[in-house]
């Protein structure tokens, strides 16, 4: 019953604090929406200046979604002055491409399109000279996708990780500061002078903030899937399960780290140490490419397992047995943090 009393109190405090509630429920949606529009913006066709290029090549270039501008005369500054992404110069058989390269990925894209166009045009000329080769050269590649389809964008791969990360981040902050306030105002000490047991306090905090974490998870997941139309191939139940376990990890970690913070300011200082690195290991950057010691670091990050499982279910459509290893890892993290929490409260009462 003491647990119930504590949970009730946490609820009362949360409902009186409208801003915190808003932060918990609305802020993740806001950021996710922003991310969605940022990543799904229309790609602008690259602008390419051409000089001395034959018409047939220009035609091919235009077909490849390139804005082509014809020039009669160019100087060294033309690319910069006319805000072009590249300049293609042809002098007989010699072709020269100058790239602006202020955005490497855009430059690489343009370079690829231009070389494809040049290759296609060369092929067309060959066929004109030797029509017999035409049958040989006509070859289309059939493309099949294991995961996703031809419309897959980076956001589809990123969004499962983001959903998990926001759940982790906001639950961490709010639960951590919740218990911290209890420490700094002395109410924790007062609690300890009642016959409450240490595990009862930890449990009450897990349940009290856990319920808010559940609501937040539901809102974030449903919003992402129904409103933002994020790909969900696997089961929504599994997505919720992963996020709930992740929220529990965040909850117990937040409470634990608040032990080592003397103020809200010091709690915020844990964000770059305990929260931000998690996102690097969540699957946005491929783990295989990392140095061995970094891969070892990833294995102690809860977000690594959550990211793997979320991406697995939402994007690849993996089943429960495929992600059970990740879920187990999250459970182990939670148990470790909870036990450490119960011990850390010894500071207030040895019993």
């Amino acid at each position: 019953m003491r647990i119930l009393a504590l949970v009730k109190r946490i609820f009362r405090q949360m409902f009186r604090d409208k801003r915190t509630l808003a932060l918990l429920f609305v802020a993740p949606l806001l950021i996710l929406t922003l991310m969605y529009f940022l990543f799904n913006g229309n790609t602008v066709d690259p602008k390419l200046g051409v000089i001395g290029v034959d018409d047939s090549l220009v035609k091919v270039l235009k077909k490849a979604d390139i804005q082509v501008e014809q020039y009669k005369k160019v100087s060294a500054n033309t690319v910069v002055d006319d805000e072009l992404d590249g300049l293609l110069e042809q002098d007989n058989r010699q072709i020269k491409l100058t790239l602006l390269n202020n955005d490497p990925s855009k430059a690489k894209g343009l370079q690829m399109k231009v070389s494809q166009a040049v290759a296609a045009q060369t092929k067309a000329m060959l066929i004109k000279q030797n029509p017999a080769a035409a049958g040989m050269a006509q070859q289309n590649i059939d493309i099949d996708y294991v995961y996703g389809d031809k419309d897959t964008v980076f956001f589809d791969v990123l969004s499962p990780i983001l959903v998990g990360f926001f759940v982790f981040f906001f639950v961490f902050i709010i639960s951590g500061i919740g218990l911290l306030r209890e420490r700094t105002t002395g109410t924790l000490e007062r609690l300890m002078s009642t016959p409450i047991r240490r595990w009862e306090i930890v449990t009450a905090y897990l349940v009290g903030y856990g319920i808010f974490a559940v609501i937040q998870t539901l809102i974030v997941v449903f919003y992402s899937i129904t409103v933002l139309d994020i790909v969900l191939v696997g089961s929504i139940g599994h997505v919720l399960l992963i996020n709930l376990l992740l929220a529990l990890v965040a909850l117990s970690l937040g409470i634990l780290l608040s032990t080592f913070a003397a103020s809200e300011f010091q709690m915020i200082q844990f964000i770059p140490i305990a929260v931000i690195p998690q996102i690097f290991f969540a699957g946005i950057f491929p783990l295989e490419g990392m140095a061995n010691w970094l891969q070892a670091v990833a294995k102690v990050m809860p977000m690594y397992y959550a990211g793997d499982a979320l991406k697995g279910v939402m994007y690849k459509g993996l089943s429960f047995s495929d992600i059970s290893g990740d879920l187990l890892a999250l459970i182990i993290f939670t148990v470790i943090f909870i036990v450490l929490n119960i011990f850390s409260l010894k500071k207030y009462r040895t019993l």
Binding site: R2, R9, Q13, R16, E189, R190, M192, S193, R349, L351
Partner: protein, 241 residues
């Protein structure tokens, strides 16, 4: 008479600093016991140990014949800390209710105790206000009310009247005496104000982690041949060093 609280040979140090050094105390049932001493003397550490929140490095503490720390015994101890540990977002009544349920009081008992302790500290009309809107004195009174909520046999009050106006201070002390006389409660009060010390049945003077002297206020005045209690404290300190 049997001691309600017995502190034997208790020492405690934090790191290298010794906070309490071989302290002995025996407090009888129904006694109003004053722990007097300057800030940093070790009074708070001592009362925290009696509540069981700190563990003694050496020695033992018995409350109601049971060795502390003892979780079940906390039911019989009402503790009021120096800081007003209250939930500002909640109303006075919600604060009281919360602590009442931590002590396992049922609904009916909660109701009667809350209205009783609230009238005791004169907060009945302010129960539905949020604590964040309380004045310093009101918070102190609510803190005291919480210490009394489970009707404990023992009250341990750490500087209960700091920041309270003289009129209220007087009424709170009157209440201490009433609790002691009519309900036979054992009360430990820490203070650094001498005029409060005089009202105690028995006084122990604490300085630098040691009990300088102890006795009834009258005994101490006689011992140091003075009528002024401040003087007693000063002379006791001189005698030690």
């Amino acid at each position: 008479m049997k001691s309600t609280i017995k502190v034997e040979q208790v020492s405690k140090s934090f790191g290298k600093k010794t906070v309490l050094n071989e302290v002995n105390l025996a407090i009888e049932k129904g006694q109003l016991f004053g722990l007097i001493g300057p800030s940093g003397a070790g009074k708070t550490t001592l009362v925290k140990m009696i509540v069981g929140m700190e563990k003694a490095d050496k020695g033992s503490i018995h409350v109601l014949d049971k060795k502390m720390p003892n979780l079940a015994l906390l039911q019989e101890i009402g503790y009021m800390a120096q800081a007003d540990a209250l939930y500002g977002e909640l109303t006075g009544e919600e604060n009281l209710k919360f602590f009442a349920s931590l002590f396992g009081l049922n609904k009916d008992a909660q109701k009667t105790r809350i209205s009783y302790v609230a009238s005791l500290v004169n907060l009945t009309d302010d129960l539905s206000k949020r604590v964040a809107a309380y004045s310093g004195g009101m918070k102190r009174r609510l803190s005291l009310a919480i210490a009394l909520i489970q009707n404990p046999q023992i009250l341990i009050l750490d500087e209960p009247t700091v920041g309270i106006d003289p009129e209220l201070k007087l009424s709170i002390w009157k209440e201490f005496l009433r609790l002691k006389n009519e309900e036979q409660k054992t009360i430990i009060v820490t203070t650094h104000v001498m005029d409060e010390a005089v009202k105690c049945d028995y006084v122990a003077m604490v300085r630098d982690g040691q009990i300088l002297t102890s006795g009834t206020p009258a005994e101490l005045k006689a011992l140091y041949r003075t009528d002024d209690f401040d003087e007693v404290f000063l002379r006791a300190g001189v005698k030690q060093s």
